[in-house]
């Protein structure tokens, strides 16, 4: 224990507000073990152990340390975790420490202290912004090689070796009357006020502890309590109320249309042992009626040479490390600032034992109060001055200070040198306006505090406190309570206004001096590097260069220099960059413009956004009542849309070809059985049902007799074939429609659309019955015998039960509708039973058919069988560009009907053109050759590319029954090419396949087999 304490040399206060020093924690960084406390962030723990150097920059590999204490940290990026949990590029300031945490530095080789990449820094003059646009062009062929090297040099962290993420990620929807984002002084006040109304309130906070800045400052007393005590009391109060949801460790990263918020809750990242049942993170998808944003503010760095050295940090960050974690970031410090607020941070550190040797302020007129206090603390000051350069190798050791001209753009005196191990910098505050901007709220430039503040809103949203530019605590609380009351009222509720808490805080003038770069007395581009975007290594002179080269728009500057494009998303760099850009263009900042912020506020877990909709839950798999049988029969399956269909049933080691040809032969010689349950089925009822079908299908339906079936083709209104199927008249006003498996849902929606929007006068009701019925198709010469053997009360004789008709009855006791229709060309029955009997029907038929050689067949055999007959499959013979005429199915297009969907479109001149792609059959010269589906036809096999193509093969199989291959193709002007020879070039080097154009009915063209006569 004692030993551990001594290791944390910079921990000077064991009682700091955010840590529990009685719970020591050990962790490793770059393989070395350190001790920290419960409540630490990795950053505070490293600083406690006097570790400042944490990473290397993106481009120049410069040594970098911890600069901030929150989401804005640009430098301290590490890789965290082991095995499948490795996560690159995590900000050390956002990692909650846990026992056994493993972190490694990034973008360095061989080690952090000695990184050969630092060579880039030496040659940095050759790599200004956008240098790669200007070179690597000769010889042309070499770019890919240059790029290979560049790619390996770029990137930051590494992904883990194990690619399987062991963690779960959850998502949930939620609805709230009022959502408050940010658990600082203003957010807590707004939440408490809103909660008093009894309305459903959500309060979220990015950190794991509540209070925000209240935890970092030591000079706010609220209702006679220290700020952080008041925060704890208020949160306890809110936790009591069951209309309030509190989400700590939760970042609101997105604000979309209609008050849709997305929040990322970190559930187990901070735990050493991660319970298996808990998700690592939870995505909250929140619909809020009113939103109150209390997201605080972020301090700006100052831009001076060497401002990126380890040991140079934001003043507020140093104060946070001191007051929250009891960590003193240095022993000998210097503050450089342009505002009063930072002075108080310096005072705090000075009192805590970090000797502040000087406070350097670019202004000549800081508030008398701070000057007085500095004097009383014996801190010397340099007014109207700035740090013009910081020096040191792996840590800041010395700074040069010089006085500046009134405007701050040139030096006004000789430089003095100060030794130090800590530089505090402060360039003023930036309200966190990201979410307001994401919601499309507008921003305006505040001439007093020199920052962007929210102006008009777009969604139902209000900003309060520091994120609204109201940095004074009293004002923030007043705004928060007023905003909450307004929201409650707008929701139609009421609540008594809270009394304003009694706040005692140091009065601070928050207006900084607008100075965007501290001059170094040298011509532009010379002297040490003054960084604007630390992570991407963008310097002030890079921005000057961009402007010089004509990249004036802020967007061009961002893209040309990459400023603001790093993983800190420009939280510390945007305004400084804008300021320098404005100066270079002699324009005002608002004229130069800002960028609109977009989701996410901070980098957000991809695994979390994916959630559980992966693996087995990625997409539903729909199965038929007979699915179990198919699986037990060892069927291979194929996905058709979301349906899983038996594809073929290999027996004792058959290849697919063997299995399919066995199934195909059986269906023609004895009988085959197909699970057709997936066909779409729609119940159509009403006095106008026939008229409705007449408008939907291309053929006529008015005269179809009850009990009779008819095949129909439906087109979109552009005349292109959309779906097909057999529809049966159950009664005068009642029809049963079947659709393709894939088209089922679309067809039902299509029909409903026409009924609701175009023909509301038609009295027709539609109901989907796809899953009400299980369907087994029994096909083949023995079909009738098998049905009789199974036992049925239906007379199966042709007289009683002709082709294209339907009978209701029983099959071995199962209530059934039998449709005598055929997709194989054989005698065929589509037997429909209520789905619960599907399996019973199937096994009954298999049993009854045993002696007749019944053979189950899958979708592949079905394809071959219909291929032999030249029947089309929508989606295979068609692709949305094919008309009924193209399919040689003009016979199904009625010219008598006054109208049907697609009629007018089919009458367009171009639809009649003879050179359209038309469906034809193909016979290969070599009967054994099967043309690959998708192969394209040409008249001249020797033509060099680009080859003149007639069209492509839509279906192609070897027909076991015919002993030769059969194919269909859509060929330009195909109907007039009967007998012509065409060639199909192959993808491999094999010679083109030669084939003759024929019609499409290859097998039993007279259709004699339909009646089972052999």
């Amino acid at each position: 224990m004692a030993r551990k304490k001594t290791m944390q040399t910079n921990r000077n206060n064991q009682q700091a507000v955010s840590i529990d020093s009685h719970a020591p924690i050990s962790f490793t960084f770059d393989g070395r073990t350190y001790q920290g406390c419960k409540g630490d962030t990795l950053a505070s723990a490293l600083l406690a152990n006097n570790v400042h150097l944490t990473g290397r920059s993106f481009k120049y590999h410069r040594p970098r340390g911890i600069m901030a204490a929150g989401a804005e940290e640009p430098n301290a990026l590490v890789g965290v975790g082991v095995g499948g949990r490795v996560e690159p590029n995590v900000k050390a300031t956002q990692i909650e420490l846990y026992d056994g945490l493993v972190a490694v530095s990034q973008n360095r080789f061989p080690s952090l202290k000695l990184d050969i990449g630092e060579i880039n820094s030496v040659f940095s003059r050759f790599f200004p912004a956008g240098f790669y646009y200007k070179t690597f062009m000769w010889p042309a062929s070499f770019w890919m090689r240059y790029e290979h090297i560049i790619r390996r040099a770029a990137g930051l962290g590494k992904v883990g070796d194990t690619h399987e993420d062991p963690d779960r990620y959850e998502k949930r929807h939620a609805h709230f009357d009022i959502v408050v984002v940010g658990g600082g002084l203003s957010g807590l006040s707004a939440a408490l006020q809103a909660a008093n109304s009894g309305q459903r309130v959500l309060l979220s906070e990015d950190q794991h502890q509540w209070g925000g800045w209240l935890r970092s400052c030591d000079d706010i007393i609220i209702d006679d309590m220290a700020g952080h005590e008041w925060a704890d009391k208020t949160i306890a109060q809110l936790a009591e109320m069951d209309n309030v949801t509190l989400l700590p460790r939760t970042t609101c990263f997105g604000y979309g249309d209609h008050n849709f918020l997305t929040l990322a809750e970190r559930v187990t990242d901070h735990l050493a042992e991660k319970p298996a049942h808990l998700p690592r993170m939870r995505l909250w998808k929140v619909r809020a009626r009113r939103v109150i944003l209390a997201t605080g503010a972020i301090e700006r760095p100052l831009v001076f040479a060497g401002n990126d050295l380890p040991g140079v940090m934001l003043a507020s960050a140093a104060q946070t490390y001191l007051n929250q974690y009891g960590v003193l970031a240095g022993r000998r410090g210097i503050l450089t600032t342009n505002n009063d607020a930072a002075w108080h941070s310096a005072f705090a550190l000075h009192k805590a034992g970090c000797l502040i040797t000087a406070i350097v302020d670019t202004r000549t007129n800081p508030a008398p109060a701070v000057l007085k206090q500095a004097a009383s603390l014996g801190i010397q000051t340099r007014l109207g001055a700035g740090i013009i350069a910081a020096h040191g190798r792996l840590h800041v050791a010395r700074v040069e200070i010089a006085s500046l001209t009134k405007t701050g753009d040139a030096l006004a005196g000789e430089a003095e040198h100060f030794d130090c191990d800590l530089v505090l910098m402060s360039g003023g505050m930036n309200p966190v306006v990201h979410l307001h901007s994401q919601s499309r709220g507008k921003l305006k430039w505040d001439e007093r505090t020199h920052c962007f503040r929210p102006s008009t809103t777009h969604e139902d949203e209000q900003c309060v406190g520091a994120c609204n530019g109201s940095f004074e605590p009293e004002r923030g609380v007043k705004e928060a309570i007023a905003a909450a009351l307004k929201a409650v009222k707008a929701n139609g509720g009421a609540a008594d206004a809270l009394n304003l808490p009694d706040i005692v805080a140091t009065k601070i003038n928050w207006a900084p001096m607008p100075i965007w770069q501290i001059p170094n007395g040298l011509p532009a581009g010379q002297g040490g590097k003054a960084f604007v975007d630390f992570q991407n290594d963008v310097t002030a002179s890079d921005i000057q260069l961009a402007v010089r080269e004509g990249y004036h728009s802020v967007e061009h500057v961002k893209r040309y220099t990459t400023t603001g494009m790093a993983t800190d998303q420009g939280k510390t760099s945007n305004i400084n960059a804008l300021g320098i850009l404005a100066r270079e263009r002699n324009a005002e900042i608002p004229a130069v413009g800002t960028t609109t912020f977009r989701m996410p506020y901070t980098p957000t877990s991809i695994g979390m956004i994916a959630g559980r909709d992966i693996g087995g839950l990625f997409d539903p798999v729909r199965t038929t009542p007979m699915d179990k049988w198919h699986r037990e029969a060892g069927a291979k399956f194929e996905h058709v849309g979301q349906w899983r269909r038996a594809w073929y049933y290999p027996q004792n080691g058959e290849s697919m070809e063997q299995a399919v040809s066995r199934e195909v032969r059986a269906a023609r010689q004895t009988a085959g059985l197909l699970d057709a349950s997936t066909l779409g089925k729609i119940d159509i009822k009403g006095p106008d049902a026939a008229e409705f079908l007449n408008r939907i299908y291309t053929n006529s339906w008015l005269k179809l007799g009850v009990g009779k079936c008819r095949y129909g083709l439906m087109c979109k209104d552009d005349g292109m074939v959309m779906d097909d199927g057999v529809t049966t008249r159950l009664a005068e006003d009642h029809f049963h429609m079947t659709t393709t498996t894939g088209g089922a849902a679309g067809v039902l929606d299509w029909l409903e659309e026409w009924l609701q929007t175009e023909w509301p006068e038609l009295k027709v009701y539609l109901t989907s019955v796809t899953e009400q019925w299980a369907v087994a198709t029994l096909s083949g010469p023995a079909a009738k015998e098998i049905l009789n053997a199974a036992g049925t009360d239906i007379n199966l004789n042709d007289e009683g039960f002709g082709f294209m008709s339907m009978r209701e009855g029983y099959i071995s006791g199962l209530p059934a509708r039998i449709y005598r229709i055929s997709f194989t060309g054989e005698l065929s029955y589509e037997i429909n039973v209520p789905a619960r009997y599907g399996m019973a029907l199937w096994t009954t038929l298999m049993r009854a058919g045993k002696n007749f050689g019944i053979t189950p067949y899958g979708t592949e055999a079905m394809h071959v069988l219909r291929g032999e007959k030249g029947f089309i499959i929508v989606g295979q013979e068609t692709d949305g560009t094919v008309t009924p005429h193209d399919l040689a199915m003009s016979w199904i297009v009625s010219d008598k009907k006054s109208d049907f969907i697609g009629k007018r479109a089919l009458a367009r001149h171009s639809m009649k053109a003879g050179d359209r792609k038309q469906l034809v059959g193909l016979k290969t010269k070599d009967p054994k050759k099967v043309i690959p589906e998708g192969a394209h036809a040409t008249l001249d096999p020797n033509q060099p590319p680009p080859v003149e193509m007639l069209g492509h093969v839509t279906s192609s199989y070897f027909s076991p029954n015919l002993g030769h291959s059969v194919a269909m193709a859509l060929l330009r002007g195909g109907h007039a090419r009967m007998g012509q020879t065409v060639y199909f070039p192959m993808l491999d080097s094999s010679p083109p396949i030669e084939a003759t154009i024929t019609d499409t009915s290859f097998y039993d063209p007279k259709g004699e087999r339909l009646n089972g006569k052999l």
């Binding site: 929807h173 459903r200 693996g615 798999v621 009400q772 690959p932 491999d988």
Partner: protein, 209 residues
């Protein structure tokens, strides 16, 4: 056959549902102790009839059904074990005891004669589950965007929506239980999804309710 390279994939055809979803046991105790957070019970022995008709015709069926069929959107008529769910301005889902189906349909035809309506049996097309447990709403919220807070979704309310990728209908049947209706072919997906979503809270699958 189809394309020159597909041969080598033919014998490694996917078997749809990945292990992860189906691997979950029938019962998962609440990892944090106490009763399972979710109970899922298959509801059987019911007949479902999809009724398409306008409000006038609904009125004619009040006596037969035993209660006025809902004419207000997303309301359920509850009478004993019978339920009538509003699905649309001219669409209602009737749930009655299976043994009453034949008689009910007979009387329905008698009452409505040749009026314009469609009463289609869909018992086999739709699966019914009764959900219970202290965390049932938290589980549903993971995949359903409806506001199911007791304040806004009370007994006698119903709603159609999505549960992740599946269309569902929910009915608040009483303080502590919900009826969930989904298409038969999606029921495997829905149960897998519910089980997986309840891993945090524990669940129990009951055969009948």
């Amino acid at each position: 056959m189809a394309s020159s390279n597909s041969e080598n994939t033919r014998d490694s055809v996917p078997n749809a549902q990945s292990p992860q979803a189906s691997a979950l046991p029938e019962i998962l105790p609440n990892p944090e102790g106490g009763a399972a957070g979710l109970s899922i019970a298959k509801v059987t022995g019911k007949t479902l009839i999809n009724l398409r008709c306008d409000d006038k015709i609904k009125a004619k069926l009040e006596t037969l059904f035993g209660a006025a069929l809902p004419t207000q959107p997303n309301k359920v008529a509850i009478i004993g074990t019978r339920r009538a769910l509003w699905l649309g301005p001219d669409e209602t889902l009737l749930m009655i005891e299976e043994e009453q189906e034949a008689e009910f349909m007979l009387n329905l035809r008698a009452v409505l004669g040749n009026a314009h309506y469609a009463a289609t049996p869909v018992s086999d097309a739709i699966k019914i589950f009764r959900l219970g447990g202290a965390r049932q709403l938290d589980v549903l919220a993971k995949g359903c965007a409806l506001d199911l807070h007791p304040a806004s979704f009370k007994e006698g309310d119903c709603a159609q929506s999505m549960l992740s990728h599946a269309a569902i209908t929910l009915a608040a049947d009483s303080q502590d239980s919900l009826l969930l209706f989904c298409r038969t072919s999606y029921s495997d997906y829905v149960t897998s999804w519910l089980k997986d979503a309840a891993v945090e809270y524990g669940y129990i699958l009951l055969d009948n309710a």
